[in-house]
C-alpha cells in the first residue's frame, strides 16, 4: 500500500476526505447564492439567464462543475460508509443514554441524506430541464443608447437545444438582441407549486443544521483548532453557513410563490 492510500484509509484520513469535500461544497454555496441573487432583479430574468449561459459554457467553470458533481457524490457515499463503520463500532447500544453532543452533530448522516435527496430533486427541476428539457426561449432587446431592456418570449426555428445564446446587433435601431433559454421562467413555474416551495424551505433548514456542525467540524478534522481563530470559525459557521446562506436560498422559492 502506498503511503497515500495508507494515510487516506486511516480513520483520520477518511475524515480528512470528508472535511475537504465538505468545505469545498461550502465554498460552492457562496458562488451559487451570489448567482441566484440575480433572480431578485426585476429585469424579466435578463441578468440571471445570461449568467446561466456563462456558467454552462465557460470551460473553467465547466471543469470545476465536474469536480463539484464528484464531490457531492463522494461526500454522500463516503459519509454513509463512515456512518456504517461507526455503527459497527458499537454493536450493542445502551438501554439508557444521555446523548451528549449537539443534535446536529449526532445526526449528520440523516441530515446529509435529506440534503442529497434535495439536490437530486433540485437538479431535476433545473439542471436537467436546462440541459435536456424543453424550455421556452426569450429574446432580450437592449437599447444601446438608453440601456432599456425589453423581453419577448420567442421560439425561432433556427434554435436547437445545443444553441445557448444568440447575440445580434441592429445598428439601424441601435439595439442589441440576445436570445437565450429562459431558466428564469422555469423558476417562476416551479415555485408556483406550494408543496415544492415547502420542500425547498425545509431542505434549507436541514442544510443549516448540517452546516452548523459540518463547517467547524471540517476545520477541527484538518487540525485547524487554535484559540486565536476558533471564535472566527465558530461565528462564520453559525451566522454565515448555518443561518445566512440557507435563509437567503430559502427566500428565493418563497419570493416567487408570493410574487
Amino acid at each position: 500500500m502506498s503511503w497515500l492510500t495508507k494515510t487516506l484509509s486511516s480513520s483520520i484520513g477518511k475524515k480528512v476526505l470528508m472535511a475537504i469535500t465538505g468545505l469545498f461544497l461550502c465554498s460552492f454555496l457562496i458562488i451559487h447564492l451570489m448567482g441566484n441573487l440575480q433572480l431578485f432583479k426585476d429585469d424579466g430574468g435578463y441578468a440571471f439567464n445570461t449568467y446561466t449561459v456563462f456558467m454552462t459554457t465557460n470551460p473553467l467553470i465547466k471543469t470545476v462543475s465536474y469536480v463539484l458533481y464528484f464531490s457531492i457524490l463522494f461526500h454522500a457515499v463516503w459519509g454513509i460508509y463512515l456512518e456504517y463503520q461507526n455503527k459497527k463500532a458499537r454493536p450493542q447500544g445502551y438501554a439508557m443514554s444521555k446523548n451528549q453532543g449537539s443534535l446536529a452533530s449526532r445526526n449528520m448522516a440523516i441530515l446529509g441524506t435529506i440534503i442529497f435527496v434535495y439536490i437530486a430533486v433540485h437538479l431535476g427541476d433545473f439542471w436537467y430541464e436546462y440541459k435536456f428539457g424543453h424550455l421556452p426561449y426569450v429574446t432580450y432587446t437592449e437599447s444601446l443608447s438608453t440601456g432599456e431592456v425589453t423581453a419577448i418570449e420567442t421560439l425561432p426555428d433556427s434554435y436547437t437545444q445545443e444553441v445557448k445564446m444568440l447575440e445580434t446587433f441592429n445598428e439601424a435601431e441601435g439595439t442589441k438582441s440576445i436570445t437565450v433559454k429562459d431558466l428564469y421562467v422555469e423558476a417562476e413555474e416551479a415555485f408556483s407549486k406550494p408543496l415544492l416551495v415547502i420542500f425547498y424551505v425545509i431542505s434549507m433548514v436541514v442544510l443549516g443544521f448540517h452546516l452548523l456542525h459540518g463547517f467547524q467540524s471540517g476545520f477541527q478534522t484538518l487540525g485547524l483548532n487554535h484559540p486565536k481563530y476558533n471564535p472566527l470559525i465558530k461565528k462564520v459557521g453559525i451566522w454565515v453557513f448555518a443561518i445566512l446562506i440557507p435563509f437567503a436560498f430559502a427566500v428565493i422559492p418563497v419570493y416567487f410563490l408570493i410574487k
Partner: protein, 250 residues
Amino acid sequence: MDLKLKVWRQKNAEDKGGLVEYQLNDIEGHMSFLEMMDILNEQLISEGQEPVSFDHDCREGICGACSMHINGEPHGPDAGTTTCQLHMRKFNDGDTIFIEPFRAKAFPVIKDLVVDRSAFDRIQHAGGYISVNTSGNTQDANSIPVPKVNADKAFDAATCIGCGACVAACKNASAMLFVSAKVSQFALLPQGEVEAKDRALNMVKQMDAEGFGNCTNTGACEAECPKGISLENIARLNREYLSASVTTDH
C-alpha cells in the same frame, strides 16, 4: 434513600445478558457509588446470589479502573468525576438508576459490568512512551527548557487516566480523545520529539486495528471525560498524524 437499580448482568462474554432489577434500601448520601455497589453485593451474597462484577482499584479517581455507564452517562451524572468519586447524594430517594457496562466493539464485556479495555494497553504499547537511556547517565528532565504553555498543555493531556469514558460516550465508540491525549502529552515536550512521528502513525494504526469508530467531532467525549481532556488534543493528533504521514521516510 431507597433506590431501584437496573443492573446489566451477563455471565460471560458469550452470554446474551440483560438488565436485572434490584431494590436497595437505606443508602446514605455520603457513600460513593462503588460503596453502594458493595452494599448491593453484600445483599446479593446474603441472599445466596452471585454478586455483580465491576472494575475498581484506587477508589480515589486516579487509576482509571472503574467504569460503568450510569443513567446514560459514563461515570454517572457528576461532571469531571469518576464512578468511585461519585457520591450517592447526587441521587434522590426513590430514583431508578440504570447501570450498564461501557459499550464498544473494542471493549467486549467479560462479565456483568466488567469490560476488556486491553485495546487501550495495546495502543499505548504501539507508541505511548519515550525511550530514555537508563545506563546511569540519564539526563535530568529539568535541564531541558520547556515553554510554560507547552508544559501546561502536556500536563493537561497527561491527566488522562485511560478509563475509556470517551469511547463509552461517543456515538461512534471512537477512541480519538484517549489517543490524542497520549500523543499530545509527548508531542508537546522535547523528550517526546524524537519518536513523535512514529508515535502518531503507530498509535492511530493500532487504534484503527482495534475496531474503534471514526471521530465525528460531536464533543461527547470532552463532555463526559472525568479529567476534562480537551478536543484541542484531537486537532493536535490530526495535525501530528497528517504531518507525520507526509514527512516520514516510510
